[in-house]
C-alpha cells in the first residue's frame, strides 16, 4: 500500500554537489564520456528499432556481402588467380568446350554462332560428321570449374569482373550520396532558416531540377562530355541534391527551426551561422543520411543504365558487362548465353534493392511516425 503523500513537505532531499578547492562545483564525469555513453545507448536503441524490420536486415546483409566481394577481389588477384587469365579488363581465356555435332552444312560461315551451350551441341560446322565430338575454344565460354560464371565475349572471367565492379559501384554510390547530402542539407537548411525570397528561389529551382527527367539529360551530357565515374557521381549528386532531396530536407529543417530551442539559442546570442551549423543541421542530418541510402540506389541504377547504353567512360562495371554482351548481339540471339546476362543484372538489382530496403528500414528509425505501434 502506498504511503500518503504529504504535499507540505519537500519531496527531494538536498543534493550536495561536490566542492572543488576554492569553491564551485566539480562535475564528476568528463563531458566527452557522458556524450559517448549517450551515443552508444542511442546507437543500441536505434539498432534494435532497425533490426525489428527483417527486410532492413536483409538489405544490410546484401550490402555486406557485396562489400566482402569488393575486398576479397584484390587479394584473389594478387595471390590466387593468374592475372593473365582472370584480370577483369585485360585477362583472356578461351577454354575449350566439348561439343557434340548434331548437324552439318557445307556453306556455314561462322561455326561458333551455332553453338548451343545449354545442351553442348554444335549445329553446323564443316569437315566433321554428325555424332562427332569436337573441342572448340569458346568465347564466351559457359560456366565451368575454371570460370565459375563463364567468360565474356572478350574472353574475360565474369566472376572477376563482377567482383571488380563492386568497387566501382560503391565508390560511385558514395560520391553521389555525399555530394547529394552535402548540397541538399545546406540548401534545405538555408531555405528553411532564411525563408522569404531565398526560400522561394531555392524551392523553385528545386522544382525545375525535379522536373527535367534525369536519363535523357544524362544521355546528352554523356555525349557532350566524357563521363568518368567520379564525374557522374558528382553530377548525380548535384542534380539530386538541388532537387527532390532539398525539398524534403527543407521541410525537416523548417520543423526544426520553429522549435523553442532555436529561439533560446538566438536569445543566448547565437549568430545565424552558429544556429544553422550547430543546431539546425545536426537535427536534419539523420534524415539526410536516410536519403543518402536512396541516392545510392539511384546512382547505381543510373550508372549501370548509362554504361549499358555505352555512354560511360568506364573500364569495367556491371553495366559495361551487359553492354559488351548486348552490343555484340549475344543477348538477342536466344537464351543460350545466359551467364552474360544474369550475374551482372542481378548484381545491379540486388545492390540497388539492398540500399533501398535498408533505407526503408532506416526510415522507421528516423521517422517515428512510421513506426508500427
Amino acid at each position: 500500500m502506498t504511503e500518503r503523500v504529504d504535499l507540505e513537505e519537500p519531496q527531494v532531499q538536498g543534493y550536495q554537489l561536490p566542492q572543488a578547492p576554492g569553491g564551485g562545483p566539480v562535475v564528476q564525469e568528463p563531458l566527452w564520456r557522458i556524450r559517448l555513453r549517450l551515443f552508444r545507448k542511442a546507437l543500441g536503441r536505434n539498432w534494435r528499432l532497425f533490426a525489428r524490420n527483417k527486410v532492413g536486415l536483409i538489405g544490410l546483409g546484401i550490402i555486406l556481402a557485396f562489400a566482402l566481394m569488393a575486398i576479397i577481389h584484390p587479394f584473389l588477384m594478387d595471390r590466387v588467380w593468374d592475372p593473365g587469365i582472370y584480370d577483369p579488363v585485360q585477362g583472356y581465356d578461351a577454354p575449350r568446350t566439348e561439343l557434340l555435332v548434331v548437324e552439318t552444312k557445307d556453306d556455314v560461315e561462322d561455326p561458333t554462332s551455332q553453338i548451343d551451350h545449354a545442351t553442348a551441341r554444335l549445329k553446323t560446322t564443316p569437315f566433321v560428321k554428325v555424332g562427332d565430338t569436337v573441342s572448340i575454344p569458346s568465347q564466351p565460354a559457359p560456366p565451368s570449374s575454371k570460370h565459375w560464371l563463364g567468360t565474356d565475349p572478350l574472353g574475360r572471367d565474369i566472376l572477376s569482373q563482377l567482383m571488380y565492379s563492386t568497387r566501382a559501384a560503391f565508390a560511385l554510390g558514395a560520391i553521389a550520396a555525399i555530394v547529394t547530402v552535402f548540397i541538399a542539407t545546406t540548401v534545405g537548411s538555408i531555405a528553411a532558416f532564411f525563408g522569404g525570397w531565398i526560400d522561394s528561389f531555392l524551392m523553385r529551382f528545386a522544382d525545375l531540377v525535379l522536373l527535367v527527367p534525369l536519363i535523357p539529360v544524362l544521355i546528352v551530357v554523356a555525349s557532350l562530355f566524357t563521363l568518368t565515374l567520379p564525374l557522374l557521381g558528382i553530377l548525380i549528386g548535384l542534380l539530386s541534391g538541388f532537387g527532390g532531396t532539398a525539398i524534403v530536407l527543407k521541410s525537416q529543417a523548417l520543423s526544426v527551426s520553429v522549435k523553442p530551442f532555436i529561439d533560446a539559442a538566438r536569445v543566448a546570442g547565437g549568430s545565424n551561422a552558429h544556429i544553422i551549423f550547430r543546431h539546425i543541421i545536426p537535427n536534419v542530418l539523420p534524415l539526410s543520411f536516410l536519403y543518402m541510402m536512396f541516392t545510392v540506389t539511384e546512382a547505381i541504377a543510373l550508372e549501370a543504365t548509362l554504361s549499358f547504353l555505352g555512354l560511360m567512360n568506364v573500364q569495367m562495371s556491371w553495366g559495361i558487362m551487359i553492354y559488351v554482351a548486348h552490343s555484340q548481339g549475344y543477348l538477342l540471339s536466344g537464351t543460350s548465353y545466359w551467364w552474360l546476362l544474369f550475374p551482372a543484372g542481378l548484381a545491379v538489382t540486388l545492390l540497388a534493392a539492398a540500399f533501398f530496403l535498408a533505407g526503408r528500414a532506416m526510415d522507421e528509425v528516423v521517422n517515428p511516425r512510421l513506426r508500427r505501434r
Binding site: 522536373l211 535523357p216 555525349s223 555512354l311 551487359i322 538489382t349 534493392a353
Partner: protein, 390 residues
C-alpha cells in the same frame, strides 16, 4: 481554375526557357563549334555549313548567338539532322513523337489504374502471407535494374515461352515486321496515325459521355455509365480495324507495341501499388473512415468513396516523380526494343553525334515533362478541394 491553368502555363514557358538557356551554355562549353562536325562528313555540302553558321549566328558575340538560339527554338527552326541529312530535325521529331506519346500514355494510364486498384484492395485485406509476398514482389519490380528487366522480358516472351508453346507471343523488337509490309499500300506512319486517331476519338467520346452522366445522374448509375462507355471505347477500335483493309498492318504495329508497353507498365505499376497501399493504410486511420462505417455504409463504399478517394491524393502528387521515371524508362524501353520513338531517336542522335537532332529531341522531351507536370498539377487541384480556393 482557368486562372490557375494560365498561371501555370506561363510558369511552364519560363521554365522551358530556363532549360533551353542551360542547354545553350552546355553547348557553348563544348570545345569547337558545330560546323566542325561537317568537315569530316562528305555527304554534307559546304553550303549547308554556311547555312548552319548563319542559323546559329556564329559570327555574332555570345549574346547574339543566344538570341538566335532562342529564336530558333521558339520558331521551330531546329535545323537539319546531320546523320540523316537533309531531313529536318522537326520532321524526324514529329514522326517519332506520336509513337512515344502512345507508349508513355498507355504505360502511365495502365500502371496507375492497375497500381491503384491493386494497392487499394491490398490495403483493405491485411492477410499476412499475401501482404508479404506482394510487398516483396512490388519492391522487387520497383528496384529491378530496368534494362536488365527489359531484356529478361524479351527472353521470356521471345525465346523461352516460344520454345514451350511453339510460337512467339510477342515479337522481340522493332516497330513492324518488314517482311509483312512488302508491297503494302500504306506507310507505317499512315496506319499508325489512323490507329491513334480512331482510338483517341473513341476514348474522347467515352469521356464526354461520362462527364455528362456525372452531371445528370446519381453517383452509382453514373459509375455504371462510365464503365460501360469506356469498355465500348476500348473495343470499338478493335472492331473498326478488324473490318478495315488496314487490318494486318494495324495488327502488326499493335503486336509490336505490346511488349514494350507491358514491360514499362509492370515496373511503373509496382511503385504505384506500393504507394497506394501505404497511402490507404494511413487514410484508413482517419476519423472520417470511422464515421463512414458508423453511418452503416457497406465496406466497399467506405473503401472506395471515402478511403480510396482520399488516398488518391498523395498518389497523384507522386505522378510528378513518376513522370520522370516513365520518361527515362520509356527511353530505355525504346532502345532495348529498338522501338522507333523519341527515346530511340535521342539515343541514335547521341551515338552518331548528330547534335542538332540531339538538342531538338532533348527539348521535346523536356516539353513532354513540363506538359505532364502541368496535367498532374491540374489533376491534383481538381481532386483536392482544399487547394482550390487559395
Amino acid at each position: 481554375m482557368a486562372k490557375f491553368i494560365s498561371k501555370r502555363l506561363v510558369q511552364m514557358v519560363i521554365l522551358f526557357a530556363i532549360f533551353l538557356t542551360i542547354l545553350f551554355f552546355l553547348l557553348e562549353a563544348q570545345p569547337g563549334d558545330l560546323t566542325q562536325q561537317y568537315i569530316g562528313n562528305p555527304d554534307i555540302p559546304p553550303e549547308e555549313k554556311a547555312r548552319l553558321a548563319a542559323r546559329l549566328g556564329l559570327d555574332q558575340p555570345l549574346w547574339g548567338r543566344y538570341i538566335q538560339y532562342m529564336r530558333n527554338f521558339f520558331t521551330g527552326n531546329l535545323g537539319n539532322s546531320l546523320s540523316q541529312y537533309p531531313t529536318p530535325v522537326s520532321k524526324l521529331i514529329l514522326t517519332a513523337l506520336p509513337r512515344t506519346i502512345v507508349l508513355f500514355l498507355s504505360a502511365t494510364l495502365l500502371a496507375y489504374y492497375l497500381g491503384f486498384v491493386t494497392g487499394k484492395v491490398l490495403a483493405w485485406k491485411r492477410g499476412k502471407a499475401t501482404e508479404y509476398m506482394l510487398t516483396l514482389g512490388g519492391v522487387g519490380l520497383y528496384t529491378v535494374f530496368y534494362p536488365w528487366f527489359a531484356l529478361l522480358m524479351i527472353w521470356l516472351f521471345g525465346f523461352t515461352l516460344a520454345e514451350w508453346i511453339g510460337f512467339r507471343i510477342f515479337p522481340i523488337n522493332k516497330f513492324i515486321d518488314v517482311n509483312d509490309w512488302t508491297g503494302a499500300p500504306y506507310s507505317t506512319n499512315e496506319v499508325f496515325m489512323w490507329m491513334i486517331g480512331i482510338a483517341s476519338v473513341s476514348l474522347l467520346v467515352a469521356g464526354l459521355i461520362t462527364l455528362y452522366a456525372r452531371r445528370r445522374l446519381e453517383f452509382a448509375p453514373a459509375i455504371r455509365v462510365r464503365n460501360w462507355s469506356f469498355l465500348v471505347a476500348v473495343i470499338f477500335p478493335f472492331v473498326f480495324f478488324k473490318l478495315s483493309p488496314m487490318e494486318p498492318y494495324a495488327w502488326d504495329i499493335l503486336h509490336h507495341t505490346m511488349l514494350p508497353v507491358i514491360t514499362l507498365t509492370l515496373v511503373a505499376f509496382a511503385g504505384i501499388m506500393l504507394l497506394t497501399r501505404s497511402s490507404m493504410l494511413e487514410t484508413l486511420r482517419e476519423d472520417y473512415i470511422l464515421t463512414a462505417r458508423a453511418k452503416g455504409l457497406s465496406e466497399k463504399v467506405v473503401r472506395d468513396r471515402h478511403a480510396a478517394r482520399n488516398a488518391l491524393l498523395p498518389v497523384v502528387t507522386s505522378l510528378v516523380l513518376a513522370l520522370a521515371f516513365v520518361i527515362g524508362g520509356g527511353i530505355i524501353t525504346e532502345t532495348v526494343f529498338s522501338w522507333p520513338g523519341i527515346g530511340l531517336l535521342l539515343f541514335q542522335a547521341v551515338i552518331l553525334e548528330d547534335i542538332p537532332l540531339a538538342m531538338g529531341t532533348l527539348s521535346i522531351i523536356a516539353v513532354l515533362a513540363l506538359v505532364g507536370h502541368l496535367i498532374a498539377d491540374i489533376l491534383y487541384v481538381y481532386l483536392d478541394p482544399r487547394i482550390r480556393y487559395q
